[in-house]
């Protein structure tokens, strides 16, 4: 299973690389929409952030804190997805190498 030469031979970079890039770009696009959504509301619709939710807490304060917490969770999700992606890929390559070795 540790035969890296066999793994490398069976590893299709042309297929795997764009998949990894898509994962990173996909997460980035979603994140950028959320962040620029926040800044757009801040600049162009400040009234929305001024809505009082009670006890002096405004929608803006909740949005700011929510954005930070959501970003951390989103980052954690990416790390998990990328880790799973790496593991699946490695397992597949090992399996292919194993099959080929037996053949």
């Amino acid at each position: 299973l540790e035969n890296h030469i066999l793994i490398n031979e069976r590893y299709d970079v042309g297929v795997a690389a764009p998949k990894r890039g898509r994962l990173a770009v996909g997460f980035s696009v979603v994140f950028l929409i959320i962040v620029f959504g926040f800044f757009s509301i801040f600049c162009f619709f400040p009234g929305l952030m001024a809505i009082d939710l009670g006890s002096g807490v405004t929608a803006g304060i909740v949005m700011e804190q929510g954005l930070i917490i959501a970003s951390i969770l989103f980052s954690g999700l990416y790390v998990k997805c990328a880790g799973r992606y790496d593991k699946n890929d490695k397992d597949r390559a090992r399996q292919n190498a194993h099959d080929r070795g037996q053949a």
Binding site: G14, R20, V35, S40, G60, E64, F74
Partner: protein, 528 residues
């Protein structure tokens, strides 16, 4: 309120910090003999350690004192900086953490130049990166001098000189290993100190954060807990600032080179996640501390303490934790400045030694020796000399930065931070993204994009009110009518797309099949 006092506890905490970091530097100096050990700690730093070091590198005294002070004086309007600075981190995780580790050796230029002609790329990256680091370094030193004067009562010149000497010791003797541990210790102290301050603050309000905001409304102006409606131009200026902060983080050489200190790509990813979490939690603290200081200290007293709001956190610490805690927070602020300037100096020295000296000057010499019997020995000798060259560069950078910091005493240098982020966002970020994700990028396109982006950013700031009115003290009405005047204070909304456009158009007009084929090989390395 008179804060000009030498607090013995501040000195005690600071001396303890200094003693620990000097021992670490001594230990690291014995471990930093080869180029790899000096520049990237031999790639032996763990993911959590690197996450702490990166957050330590990123969170300067401006984050602890400046942003909290801005919120305590301006209310919710101050969160623009906070969110802008934080939001760069998830993007660093998604887009650059793994590629930096997989493609880089010591610097950002290694990654951009991977499939392109390395010499012009290294020169262009160094031309963009050195000003980014130097401008940031000068700002930090000027702020350090002012704050040391404010907190410890030490005069500006000895304060700046002391910071310069200590930062040089870390970099000169300990290299990346010592600098990393200084950042880790600083990050732990910074988070520990701010977390304790937040707990003390919340205890004062029955652990109900809503009470803080409610009292802020009654103690300050109405609407302090919501954004102020901005005029049309300022709206776009704020968006432009957000672009600079958000994308500038992805072009900061001192941050990106930290991914080279870990062992593997998955560790780079994890360390970026840890840094995201730490920076994020810290910015949650910033909002609470800013409003807490406003309620408990008051707008007038914060302003009266001087430093444009910078004393809000130390005053809050004194109120909630007494002299001991005040001393601790002052010492943490000083440690924060030291750690950040050390990281910046190392980054500038590495860029010079690896990209300019080894990548351009010595590369040329080796090319002339190619094929001769001596070429192998000369190459080994050059590689071994890189840390020495970096040490000399660090001395030059430190002396230049201290002299410039002395020259700028008492002047408004805040524009330099904006300039630093704008150059990073306009020069390094677009080309780094195109190098990683666009097959058709060429050397000519990358160099043109970097230089045009950086030049436009600098030019627009020089022609903006930031320099014309605030630094050169011209009347706004005099310059407003001039044809060359740029109304925007932050150029990134124009300079970032411009850099992308230049890099794209030059690459399309002058395509290179060889460099395009290198993209496939790069993908293979990224997947290795």
């Amino acid at each position: 309120m008179n804060m000009h006092l030498i607090n013995p506890l501040s000195l005690l905490f600071f001396v303890v910090f200094l003693a620990i970091t000097i021992v670490i530097t001594w230990y690291a100096s014995r471990k930093s003999r080869s180029a790899s050990e000096y520049f990237n700690a031999g790639g032996r730093v763990g993911a959590l350690q690197n996450g702490l070091a990166m957050s330590g590198e990123y969170l300067s005294a401006a984050a602890l004192l400046g942003m909290t002070g801005a919120i305590s004086l301006n209310g919710f309007d101050g969160v623009v900086y906070s969110i802008g600075v934080f939001a760069g981190w998830p993007l660093i995780l998604f887009l650059v953490s793994e590629p930096m580790k997989r493609l880089g050796k010591f610097t950002l230029a290694d990654v951009i130049a991977w499939r392109l002609n390395p010499k012009p790329i290294r020169v262009a990256v160094a031309l963009a990166s050195l000003p980014i680091v130097l401008l940031y370094l000068i700002t930090q030193l000027v702020a350090a001098g002012g704050l040391i004067k404010l907190m410890f009562g030490v005069a500006y010149f000895p304060g700046v000189a002391l910071v310069g000497v200590i930062m040089l010791c870390y970099v000169f003797f300990g290299g990346m290993l010592a600098t990393t541990w200084v950042q880790i210790i600083k990050a732990v102290l910074l988070f520990g100190g701010s977390a304790l301050l937040v707990v003390l603050l919340l205890a004062k309000f029955h652990f109900n954060p809503a009470e803080i905001f409610s009292m802020a409304l009654s103690r300050a102006r109405p609407g302090i807990n919501a954004p102020t409606a901005l005029p049309a131009l300022q709206r776009w200026d704020t968006i432009s600032l957000a672009i600079a902060l958000l994308f500038g983080a992805l072009g900061m050489p001192q941050i990106l080179s930290r991914f080279l200190t870990v062992n593997k790509a998955s560790d780079a990813r994890k360390s970026a996640f840890y840094a995201t979490g730490l920076v994020g939690v810290f910015h949650i603290f910033v909002l609470l501390l800013g409003f807490g200081a406003l309620v408990l200290i008051g707008h007038g007293d914060i302003l009266g303490a001087g430093g444009a709001g910078n004393m809000a956190v130390p005053l809050l610490a004194k109120l909630l934790g007494g002299d001991a805690f005040f001393g601790f927070i002052c010492a943490v602020s000083f440690a924060t400045m030291l750690a950040v300037v050390a990281g910046l100096t190392l980054s500038a020295a590495t860029t010079f030694a690896h990209d300019i000296w080894a990548g351009v000057v010595m590369h040329q010499r080796l090319a002339t020796l190619a094929g001769s019997a001596d070429s192998g020995a000369v190459q080994t000798s050059h590689s071994a000399k890189q840390p020495q060259v970096a040490r000399i560069a660090a001395v030059v950078v430190a002396i230049a930065a201290v002299l410039l910091a002395l020259r700028f005493e008492g002047q408004n240098v805040a524009f330099m931070v904006g300039l630093s982020y704008s150059i990073a966002a306009s020069a390094n970020f677009p080309v780094l993204m195109l190098a990683l994700f666009w097959k058709r990028l060429t050397t000519a396109g990358a160099v043109a994009g970097m230089l045009c982006g950086a030049t436009l950013a600098v030019l627009m700031i020089i022609l903006s009110p930031t320099i014309q009115v605030e630094v050169l003290h011209k009347a706004l009405t005099d310059v407003q009518g001039q044809w060359w005047f740029v109304s925007l204070r932050n150029p990134s909304i124009i300079s970032v797309p411009f850099a992308f456009f230049v890099a794209w158009s030059v690459s399309v007009l002058r395509p290179s099949k060889v460099e395009q084929s290198g993209f496939e090989q790069m993908q293979a390395v990224l997947e290795a």
